[in-house]
Symmetry: C2
Subunit: 410 residues, 2 copies
């Protein structure tokens, strides 16, 4: 920001949906505080909406661009053009960063301007700043958490009420916690985009959305939640990015957590992220994962950092391979024929695949008989083979159902 302190900073605002409108309001309210903190008064010099405004004119009359359109097209072109013209950009656009991060960071570096995006992951929780700045030289071993509020609301409600997925989803839509087309959230795709961003920052390695495997919550059954509650487990849709076997693994999956795990009490539409490293043990941060004014606050924090003259974050780069097959514990739900020797036959199949049973509970009789197990950590590929072998037995009345479990005690 080269201009003198006396002139206002002209902000070009792209997008005027919920977050865009909230940002414009918040900026108006806090303009005095921004001026006190940075020496420069911000003002919105132009706003682009779907129906109105000309990007080139807005760009030319602005010192800084705030991109809140969402999606990759035309957001990508706009952000690239802004960076190339030497204007810093603040964006809340997770898809843009997850799919085109390499290109965007390279252009920002070349142009010597800042690209900030705190609002793209976990709303107002300052996880981006914490990873990039506080822990910028820390050898992070794992970043994981609840980064999608819609699914956390649905899972919390299912666990509390015993209601089924479809019923709770409808309630979430009524309350505005889920969109009319919820597929991006409930499939885990939204969380995958956020984990791609966090993994890139934590491990200083290029990660793109296509490399993140994800599994959603559409298949979760109310009885899984009921049995799990008896075992002291709570279900979360987790995003996990971690160092494993000399590479990294970045995944999204529904996962049971034991009581006492720091993420276990996170309920409703909240998000929470944990960062682990030998030198910090673990830090957990939680807060609202969405919301107009909360997201706008995160955007404003980035704008203030740029106006205050903070240095761009240096990108260091290593190339770490993505590890496909990792170990995990699992919850396993088997609808079994109520016959002598069933448990022995199933346990033998599991044992043949090096899957060892931690706990098993039998429920119901006759046509209702089922076994609910937790198995110790094993290679996911071995577990998948064990599931296939189980499915081939005559002892099962339906295909086996499994959900990840984090066994660690906290």
């Amino acid at each position: 920001m080269g201009s003198e302190d006396s002139k206002p900073v002209r902000i070009g605002l792209l997008g005027r949906g919920t977050v865009g409108a909230a940002f414009a309001d918040l900026l108006g309210e806090r303009a005095g505080a921004v001026e006190a903190a940075t020496g420069r008064r911000p003002e919105i010099s132009g706003a682009l909406t779907r129906g109105d405004g000309d990007f080139t004119a807005i760009l030319e009359s602005s010192d800084l661009i705030v991109e809140l359109i969402g999606g990759t097209d035309p957001a990508r072109q706009y952000v690239l053009e802004a960076l190339r013209s030497g204007r810093p950009v603040v964006t809340a656009n997770k898809q843009l960063l997850a799919q085109h991060g390499d290109e965007l960071f390279a252009v920002a570096r070349e142009a010597g301007v800042q690209l900030r995006f705190e609002a793209a992951v976990a709303g107002v929780i300052p996880i981006i700043r914490t990873i990039q700045e506080s822990f910028g030289v820390t050898e992070i071993s794992k970043v994981f958490g609840i980064v999608n509020g819609t699914t956390n609301f649905i899972l919390s409600e299912m666990a509390a009420s015993g209601a089924g997925y479809d019923e709770v989803l409808a309630r979430a839509q009524e309350l505005g916690y889920a969109e009319a087309d919820p597929s991006d959230d409930v499939s885990g795709a939204d969380a995958a985009a956020k984990m791609a961003i966090l993994a890139r920052l934590a491990f200083h390695t290029p990660v793109t959305l296509s490399e993140v495997t994800f599994e959603g919550i559409e298949g979760i059954q109310p009885d899984d939640l009921a049995y799990a509650k008896e075992l002291g487990l709570s279900l979360k849709l987790l995003g996990v990015a971690e160092r494993r076997d000399g590479g990294i693994s970045v995944r999204v999956f529904p996962c049971f957590l034991y009581r006492g795990h720091p993420l276990s009490p996170i309920e409703g539409p909240f998000n929470a992220v944990m960062v682990e490293a030998p030198a910090i043990t673990e830090v957990t941060m939680s807060g609202p994962g969405a919301g107009g004014v909360e997201t706008a606050s995160a955007v404003l924090g980035d704008v203030v950092s740029i106006l205050a003259g903070d240095a761009p974050v240096h990108e260091t780069r290593v190339e770490l391979p993505l590890v496909g097959d990792v170990t995990s514990s699992f919850y396993l739900h088997l609808e079994v024929a109520d016959q002598p020797g069933v448990l022995a036959r199933l346990a033998t199949v599991l044992g043949d695949h090096d899957v060892s049973v931690k706990s098993v509970v039998q429920r119901g009789m006759g046509d209702e008989a089922r076994l609910v197990m937790v198995v110790h950590e094993c290679l996911e590929s071995r577990f998948a083979q064990a599931l296939e072998a189980l499915a081939g037995l005559d002892d099962l009345r339906s295909p086996p159902r499994s959900i990840h479990v984090i066994e660690e005690e906290y």
Copy 2:
């Protein structure tokens, strides 16, 4: 930092206790990462210990000072001299900042150099950066939390084991969670210093240690914890800094929290801090509150920010009065004579002082009879008067005991 990128950054280290030694080790390990992130390789150019080293010589041969001596004297003189000589300073010294913050910030501002102190509050939890940078222009309404790990360990252990204060304190000392002279921690004085720092940053107003009222945990009885558990309450030593009645209130006191409160699951030597504001709802951050390498990590994060060229944080200033009398809910433990009409007489005294009872449970009979109450929010001064009036009744076998309660449901 004016020198060229090729030269190493010379760090003068004051203090080589647990944190100092951990910092020196960590800096050695991460020097390459620091260079990759900032373009400059750090090295320790000199270290001052109690028995060895000359401050002036260390200062002259350094570009940046890391102060880890603790205490205010000679730390204050050293830090002031370093700032006046144009060298940025990173410190973990809460007493120094809580007692001499005004002077230190003024000198840093005049000299145009940075004074950073993430490690002074809540160890590796990035609460200072979050308040100053992410929420630097947010109108924070409340910052509160568990900022002393020693007392949180003692209270967790007392609640879990039913053991008394003295026994658990001895265990904490054995485990290294409490010092040989634990008074600074258990009296609440340590937490008060941290809250003075957080209040200053959150409200942009000068707060010094002498303005923070504090109450410790020495008087907590095992039966208070037992009764509270039945009521679904957990006990924490809370630091609270909040806007109240046009001013601010900054206090430290033991406090019961209802289950579901985000601070309720924080156990053992961990710290956790919550920030509330209309524009962010609430953000909670938790992690280890102490530990050599964790504290050293926080110091290193500050060093990296300075080397990266982040702008000094602008200090804005308003003058907010400290509000003495605020409202709170209370837990009240009364050892009563087991006679007809006792509850009515006690309730009348409370009512006369505008103190209204939320719940009451009678326990024991005869010489063991006691009433355990939770009262609704009321002015603390009125509650103190009510306690005095109760103590004057013949119905009590011992002076009334009370502990703060946060009633809010989360």
